[in-house]
């Protein structure tokens, strides 16, 4: 049968990997697979769900566009009798999807923040680059950073800017933040793209050795930067693992009526990539032992 895989935006390596891995896994298991993208638009997402129904898909692997806004679309697929497996992001309603496989953003953020403190030290001013506010993960990660960093009273957050997960915006916002706060010692970023933008800004200002940058996602570019010593660390989201797992659970559900896992919400712990283990990074978003 046809398995429809709906990701956010394959123009980003993270979601690209998510889609490709799911597709490869599905094909391995003998399904045909379509990868589509909603680019964060709930209407586009709903349209894609309709299309999946039209195409008589046997299962839908969905990276939801919006925790609240995607509920209706999922409901529609479920009403049409198609099992839905959510990956990467959650929706705020349980009992609809057969499974929600997400990386543990809170755990990852805490992990990252810890590594960040180690690299930066426990006193000084820092700024944060924030993802797209319409995306839950932006807030989850920010809160995760906050929880750790507030334990260090001498660390002062002097700025937080929305850079919408985007490298160019990360670059420009970081430059402005640096102008407003010339004495910052660290940048903590909600994802790798924004962090890479910040690194370019720091390079341009000649401050890369004074200001430490931490990322999130574990994208290949970021791992390169970690290897080069430009980025202190990145938090690897096990996207390759859970999107493959989602397809397997879908397969199992189709064949047996069970996903094989008890809980609907399944959290996958994030891993830290630093200079020490960066060489174990074998493929996009895959960290070997």
């Amino acid at each position: 049968g046809l398995m429809t895989i709906i990701v956010n935006d394959p123009a980003n390596p993270y979601w690209f990997t998510e889609g490709e891995v799911a597709k490869a896994t599905a094909e391995e298991l003998g399904y045909t697979a379509n990868v589509a993208a909603h680019k964060g638009d709930t209407n586009a997402e709903s349209t894609l769900i309709d299309t999946a129904i039209t195409n008589k898909s046997v299962a839908i692997i969905l990276d939801p566009a919006n925790a609240d806004g995607s509920v209706g679309a999922v409901k529609k697929a479920v009403d049409a009798g198609i099992p839905v497996f959510l990956v990467n992001a959650e929706i705020n309603q349980e009992g609809l999807a057969k499974a929600q496989l997400v990386s543990n953003n809170a755990q990852g953020a805490a992990l990252g923040a810890q590594a960040w403190v180690e690299a930066v030290g426990d006193s000084g001013k820092y700024v944060e680059l924030f993802g797209n506010p319409a995306d839950n993960n932006a807030l989850t990660r920010s809160n995760g950073f906050e929880t750790v960093l507030t334990q260090y009273p001498d660390l002062e957050k002097v700025g937080r800017e929305v850079a919408n997960w985007d490298r160019t915006q990360g670059y420009q916002k970081a430059q402005s933040l640096l102008q407003a706060n010339p004495d910052v010692i660290g940048v903590i970023s909600g994802n790798d793209e924004m962090a890479l933008g910040a690194i370019a800004a720091l390079k341009e200002a000649g401050k890369l050795d004074q200001v430490k940058v931490g990322g999130f996602d574990g994208s290949p570019d970021a791992v390169e930067a970690v290897k080069a010593g430009e980025m202190q660390y990145t938090v690897l989201q096990p996207v390759a693992i859970f999107s493959a797992e989602a397809v397997r659970q879908a397969d199992s559900f189709i064949k047996t009526g069970e996903t094989g896992v008890d809980t609907e919400k399944q959290l996958f712990d994030c891993l830290l990539i630093t200079k020490d283990n960066a060489d174990n990074y074998t493929a996009a978003f895959v960290l070997g032992e």
Binding site: P10, A36, N43, T51, T54, N66, G69, G72, K75
Partner: protein, 352 residues
């Protein structure tokens, strides 16, 4: 540009010496969007067995509804010689406003929470859309701000307000509660009358009303006239300023309706909805044969244009084309469809 057009009306060379096969020729050519649509349907039907089914056609039509409703308003504005970039933002703002009302309006002074019934929510949302549209209209007609800029500004402001209202979050619970007497919002998005989704019926009704207005009412005549030559229209007694404010107001109201339809289809309303929909709506209008310089265009053409875009993009998804290729195809088809259109004007159009 005025002069450009004037001149071409009078001095343009037409070296073709074509025979006056007007009626047949014109009919065929006017149907270019129609042909594009047929071509799209045929191609995709061959490529996928699931494409040409009643069920899928209706589903696709309900997707078209959103763009289609926006395109109706856009057509009015474009006929007037303007453009409205704010439709997507108004759509989002309207959805969010409706969502907020469904959650209850808290009157702090009195310490009560009002739960307006669904009809009231719908009406209030439309009024809101109309008001925002009227702001566009006033900026354009009274303060003479170029339409592109006025509506660009309003696009940013309306989006910002929608984000501020919800703090970036999405309203999820629009079903209302029976005990509050405000259920029924999902009805538009979910129910069907005689098998046809309500959203499609809404589109059809609006398109028919709009079409009648354009072709039969004096307002329609005023609109075409003031889009063709505003000065001449005004000197002939057309209340051009009122016409202008009205079209932007209507466009705002239609955007709000589109927002309501979308929110009820999704049973949620978020502040980031409708981004870049203005481009889709404009594309629909232009594919449908309207001229961005104003004064030329029909409702039928615009609807065909909306269906061309909608049926194309859904078809690409159904046959499983990668999203990168979808981008390429969409661009190519838009240009192709309008290329045919231009050939029409280049030849048939006005003669000098």
């Amino acid at each position: 540009m005025r002069e450009t057009k004037d001149m071409s009306d009078t001095i343009v060379a037409r070296p073709d010496g074509r025979k006056r096969d007007f009626n047949i020729g014109r009919l065929l050519l006017e149907g270019r969007a129609f042909f594009a649509l047929i071509a799209i349907i045929v191609v995709f039907s061959i490529l996928s067995p699931n494409y040409l089914t009643i069920g899928n056609l209706l589903i696709m039509a309900s997707h078209v509804a959103i763009y289609g409703i926006l395109a109706i308003g856009m057509l009015l504005v474009i006929l007037n010689g303007g453009i409205d970039l704010s439709v997507g933002s108004i759509l989002a703002l309207a959805g969010v406003a409706a969502g907020a009302m469904m959650q209850g309006i808290e009157l702090q002074a009195m310490g009560v929470i009002l739960y307006p019934p669904v009809w009231a929510v719908v009406v209030l949302t439309c009024v809101l859309g109309a008001l925002v549209g009227a702001v566009n209209g006033v900026l354009v007609s009274i303060f003479k701000v170029p339409a592109f800029v006025a509506t660009l500004g309003v696009m940013y402001v309306a989006r910002g307000v929608a984000l501020l209202m919800t703090n970036g979050l999405t309203y999820n619970n629009l079903s209302g509660r029976p005990e509050l007497g405000n259920t029924g919002f999902d009805w538009i998005g979910f129910n069907r009358i005689a098998g046809v989704p309500i959203s499609v019926i809404v589109l059809a009704v609006l398109a028919i009303l709009g079409g009648l207005m354009l072709s039969r009412s004096s307002f329609g005549r005023w609109l075409y006239a003031s889009g063709g030559n505003e000065r001449a229209a005004e000197l002939s007694g057309v209340p051009t300023r009122r016409v202008k404010i009205t079209v932007y107001t209507l466009s705002g109201m239609l955007s709000a309706i589109a927002g309501l339809v979308l929110a009820s289809q999704l049973t949620s309303a978020g502040p980031t909805a409708g981004m870049t929909y203005e481009l889709t709506a404009i594309a629909a209008v232009v594919i449908g044969g309207a001229a961005l310089t104003g004064g030329r265009g029909t409702m039928r053409g615009t609807m065909l244009g909306a269906f061309v875009i909608g049926f194309l993009s859904d078809g690409l998804v159904i046959i499983g084309v990668s999203s990168y290729w979808q981008t390429v195809f969409t661009g190519a088809v838009i240009v192709l469809a309008v290329l045919m259109n231009s050939l029409q004007y280049g030849r048939g159009g006005r003669k000098s």
